[in-house]
């Protein structure tokens, strides 16, 4: 009765690749937010497209509002709202023109229009921008307009494909509130996401991985499975990355990540009772191990059979850089970049000592990548100075570049070259020669288990392997400084942990890391972070410091996202005053 979508044994394949969706069944109810959760390539978009009737399953059936998608796709399309990735807006039409267009296409009666437009523009807070071209809106505003266009005819089922990608945290919260209101009015909302923290807020989730449905139900049902097995080790003495690596080597620890100064650990089910004390001893005398509420990500990793070991062979084979020299390895002083009359980055200043991970955290378009590109010599600053390993980026760009490894956002290797050709090429570019070159290539091939893939075109690799190959190419020449631009965006949590265990290991060897991210959790792996918002650094400090800065009576244990939002609001108020 209450079921809006019924999926029965759906299989969908593209070409010869493994099935994009492999025997997925389930139902989606009205008045709820249902999350389609999983890393890139899990099958989320395919599943949503199947629900729109724009794509048909190879086998199995999709019923939307009791209509079969094979027999009556037009009927389905008349009663759903769909916001595809990138929002489906015409960028050269204004906000109002986009609304008019979709109102016409959806057959919204003329007499209702004024009222509906008014309601939606107020709801999305876009009234002031009705005349602005959609292409000139910020990511958050585009997303709201996309939502408004999908809502024009009060759909009974609203399908949102990764609505929070590229959107700042404040807009993300606004959007979530809007969607909650809709669900209260009885609309069935489907929200796909790769962010696991969003999963926790859904009423029901479909957890997908590589086309398989791992779990369906309330997120709490999943996290409850590991209740009492998740611990926070705080007050650790010494290098917390080393301690994490040691903890992960314990057979009873199945997962662990850094969380600011503390270490978050998930214990194996059968050994959760006796083990904690022994693990706590790793952190020194004053370390405290406390049970902490499980998160969706912990449960996901548990479901996948636990995270990888904390060992990094890559780090073990890397030579130790002399520790203790006081000078900064990466330094930015008043870095400014203007494009025309737009200031992409303004007076960015920080300095990163050897063996530290420094994070630039901020939404897309805030200026992270611009800052980042100036520091690796890819972009000429309009003002200010930058230094890497002691070399000035204006004068000695080539010298500086030889000492840094760069892993670009998105896949930046040569897709048509094989894995081994890519390794050869990057070894050549970084000037590796003779025996040393052969050794390094053999070494990274072994560490990252490339052997079965060496002759495969890089573009055909699964996402996780592409990401490993990108890292391998960036570290082959043993750089002093490592620049990682959104390194783990969209990958599954296991690959992400593996990636960070390498980075953690390298940092222990004295490598300095600058990383950009918009994952709030990932920010907590850093020693210090700078919050970038609208081209400026609005706060700088360790994750714990920043969180402490915004702690209040209402919220004594704020998350990184709470901190970010509070700091942005402070900044906005300050600039208004």
């Amino acid at each position: 009765m209450d079921t809006f979508v019924r999926l029965t044994d759906i299989v969908k394949r593209f070409g010869h690749a493994p099935a994009a969706l492999d025997t997925v069944s389930g139902s989606i109810r009205g008045g709820q937010i249902t999350g389609l959760v999983g890393p890139d390539g899990a099958g989320k978009t395919t599943l949503i497209r199947l629900m729109t009737g724009l794509m048909l399953p190879d086998s199995g059936t999709v019923h939307v509002l009791d209509l079969d998608s094979r027999q009556n796709p037009a009927g389905i399309q008349a009663s759903i709202g769909y916001m595809p990735q990138r929002f489906g807006l015409y960028e050269d039409l204004s906000v109002q023109e986009n609304l008019n267009l979709y109102a016409d296409l959806r057959g919204l009666p003329k007499e209702d229009r004024q009222a509906v437009f008014h309601e939606l523009l107020t709801f999305t807070d876009l009234s002031r921008f009705a005349g602005r071209l959609a292409g000139k809106l910020s990511g958050g505003m585009k997303q709201k307009l996309g939502l408004a266009c999908a809502l024009l005819r009060k759909p009974r089922l609203l399908l949102l494909d990764e609505p929070s990608v590229g959107v700042d945290p404040i807009s993300r919260r606004d959007l979530w509130k809007m969607v909650e209101d809709l669900a209260k009015q009885g609309v069935s909302v489907v929200w796909s996401t790769a962010y696991l923290d969003e999963a926790e807020a859904c009423d029901c989730v479909f957890l997908l991985n590589q086309g398989k449905l791992l779990f369906t139900g309330a997120p709490a049902d999943l996290t409850d499975r590991i209740k009492g097995r998740v611990f926070k080790l705080s007050g650790v003495e010494g290098r917390r990355r080393l301690i994490l690596a040691k903890a992960l080597d314990r057979p009873n620890v199945i997962d662990g990540v850094l969380q600011g100064e503390a270490i978050r650990l998930v214990m194996r089910a059968e050994e959760a009772d006796g083990a904690p004390l022994e693990v706590a001893s790793l952190g020194g005398k004053n370390a405290k191990l406390m049970i902490t509420p499980p998160r969706f990500e912990d449960a996901f990793v548990d479901l996948l059979g636990g995270g990888p070991s904390g060992h990094s062979k890559l780090a073990e084979s890397t030579k130790m850089r002399k520790a203790g020299d006081a000078g900064a390895v990466i330094e930015a002083k008043d870095l400014t970049k203007r494009f025309g009359d737009f200031t992409a980055a303004k007076d960015i200043t920080f300095s990163i000592p050897r063996g530290e991970i420094f994070g630039l955290l901020g939404p897309n378009g805030a200026g992270k990548s611009t800052t980042f590109k100036m520091l690796c010599g890819l972009l000429k600053p309009t003002g200010g100075a930058g230094r890497v390993a002691g070399f000035d980026l204006r004068r000695d760009v080539a010298e500086a570049r030889n000492r840094l490894g760069y892993m670009a956002q998105k896949f930046s290797l040569y897709g048509d070259l094989s894995v081994s050709q890519n390794l050869q090429f990057f070894a050549g570019v970084y000037g590796l020669r003779g025996d040393y070159r052969r050794e390094r290539i053999a070494l990274v091939s072994e560490i990252f288990s490339f052997a079965p893939y060496l002759e495969m075109s890089a573009k055909d690799l699964p996402l996780g392997l592409k990401q490993r190959l990108a890292l391998a190419c960036a570290v082959m020449h043993e750089p002093e400084a490592l620049f990682l631009d959104e390194p783990t965006s969209g990958v599954d949590p296991i690959t992400r942990r593996e990636f960070w265990s390498h980075i953690n290991g390298l940092v222990e060897k004295g490598v300095t890391v600058l990383v950009t991210t918009h994952f709030m959790d990932e920010a907590e792996y850093c020693d210090r972070i700078s919050l970038i918002y609208r081209g400026q650094s609005i706060a700088l400090g360790s994750p714990d410091e920043l969180k402490a800065r915004v702690a209040s009576v209402d919220n004594s244990d704020p998350t990184m996202e709470d901190a970010f939002i509070a700091l942005i609001k402070q900044q906005d108020q300050a600039s208004l005053a």
């Binding site: 497209r49 724009l54 794509m55 048909l56 595809p84």
Partner: protein, 380 residues
């Protein structure tokens, strides 16, 4: 029941009208479509109007008079005076051989000692012409111009001397383009190329762009039908193609003084018939590729280049290999260009026009059928 169908029809009209309106706004706001529809055609026209000329004006030739008599001198003088030739003199043809091989001159005209004798003989005056056969186009021109110079000279001489003219005389007369200015046939031809640009290239780009930007997916998830989507693209670009053609015709007639002897009605009818296959091809390409780069390459290779090379616009079809000649018969541009030239240079010739219109519409219908099969409301 009846009201419902009426409602459905009005829904359909409204959706179509809104798609057309949207497309029009996009065209007007997108500088690149204006560039392709109006600026590029003008550049092409100016190129063909001013820069490219297939006329043999002042062709350099060598002139060898092997025996000097008043008669041969008279003929030599008329070569020297000709506006088609720039003449170098010598007494021995061998002195020009090197120049001909190196391409410094385009031909050697030899007035042989037997010239005087032949001029009273059965075959009339004869001279020898040596041309570089590796460049047949130029060789042809040189031959034609030499022939016409000789004929003119002979005719003039016979009136002057009041002797009866030889029984058979070749007098070339070029119809419809008496001056043989290549501009007059290049510019109408260029208009066909321009319509290919707008109809095929621009259309293929705009649909592919909607796929790339994700708007196609959002629109498809509304009650719009595939036919409405297609029609919503066709109308605006049809109008744009006609506007672009109009601009070209105005420039051709007003600026380049290309004659226009047919009727405006037949011009528009022919152009409209040509745009149907051009648009159909554009739609088919973009529906099949969904990628702007690939679409533009395909449009250039399957639309623009054949219209340019195989339509008889620049290169004579009859001098192409037979299989290529067959291939040209399926090109709409090959059927448009002769008709368009006729409209400009000769006048209305309905039997010819109707045949080419029928052909172009047939090709158009096939392409549309293929495109419609490819643009179903399905992804993947």
């Amino acid at each position: 029941m009846r009201t419902e169908t009426a409602d459905q029809a009005s829904d359909r009209c409204r959706r179509l009208a809104t798609l057309v309106r949207k497309e029009t706004w996009q065209i007007l706001r997108d500088p690149s479509s204006i560039l392709i529809a109006f600026v590029l055609p003008l550049i092409l026209l100016f190129l063909f109007g001013f820069a490219v000329s297939l006329d043999a004006n002042k062709t350099r030739v060598g002139l060898v008079v092997e025996s000097k008599t008043p008669m041969t001198e008279d003929l030599a003088a008329s070569f020297r005076a000709s506006r088609y030739f720039s003449v170098a003199d010598a007494y021995d043809r061998r002195s020009f051989e090197q120049d001909l091989v190196l391409g410094r001159i385009r031909g050697i005209i030899v007035i042989t000692p037997t010239f005087v004798r032949d001029s009273v003989g059965r075959f009339g005056p004869q001279i020898q012409l040596i041309v570089d056969g590796s460049d047949p186009n130029t060789a042809n021109f040189v031959q034609n111009y030499v022939q016409s110079t000789v004929s003119n000279w002979a005719a003039q001489r016979s009136t002057e001397l009041a002797t009866p003219s030889p029984a058979i005389r070749i007098e070339p007369r070029f119809w419809f383009n008496q001056e043989l200015t290549s501009r007059d046939f290049l510019v109408p031809g260029a208009i066909a190329i321009v319509m290919t640009l707008v109809g095929t290239l621009l259309t293929s780009l705009v649909i592919a762009r909607e796929w790339e930007r994700g708007t196609m997916e959002a629109v498809m998830a509304t009650p719009v039908t595939a036919a409405e989507l297609l029609a919503g693209k066709i109308f605006p670009y049809f109008v744009l193609g006609m506007a672009s053609m109009t601009l070209c015709v105005l420039v051709a007639v007003l600026l380049f003084r290309v004659p226009f002897r047919g009727s405006i009605f037949s011009l528009y009818l022919l152009s409209a018939a040509f745009l149907i296959p051009a648009l159909g091809q554009g739609l088919l390409i973009s529906a099949a590729t969904k990628n702007q780069f690939l679409a533009s390459q395909l449009a250039l290779i399957t639309g623009f280049l054949p219209s340019f090379l195989l339509s008889g616009f620049l290169f004579e079809i009859r001098s192409m290999p037979l299989p290529i000649q067959w291939l040209t018969t399926i090109l709409p541009a090959r059927h448009l260009i002769p008709s368009l030239l006729t409209v400009f240079l000769a006048g209305d010739l309905w039997p010819m026009f109707l045949r080419s219109i029928a052909f172009m519409l047939t090709v158009g219908a096939i392409l549309f059928a293929l495109a419609a099969r490819n643009v179903s409301k399905r992804i993947g």
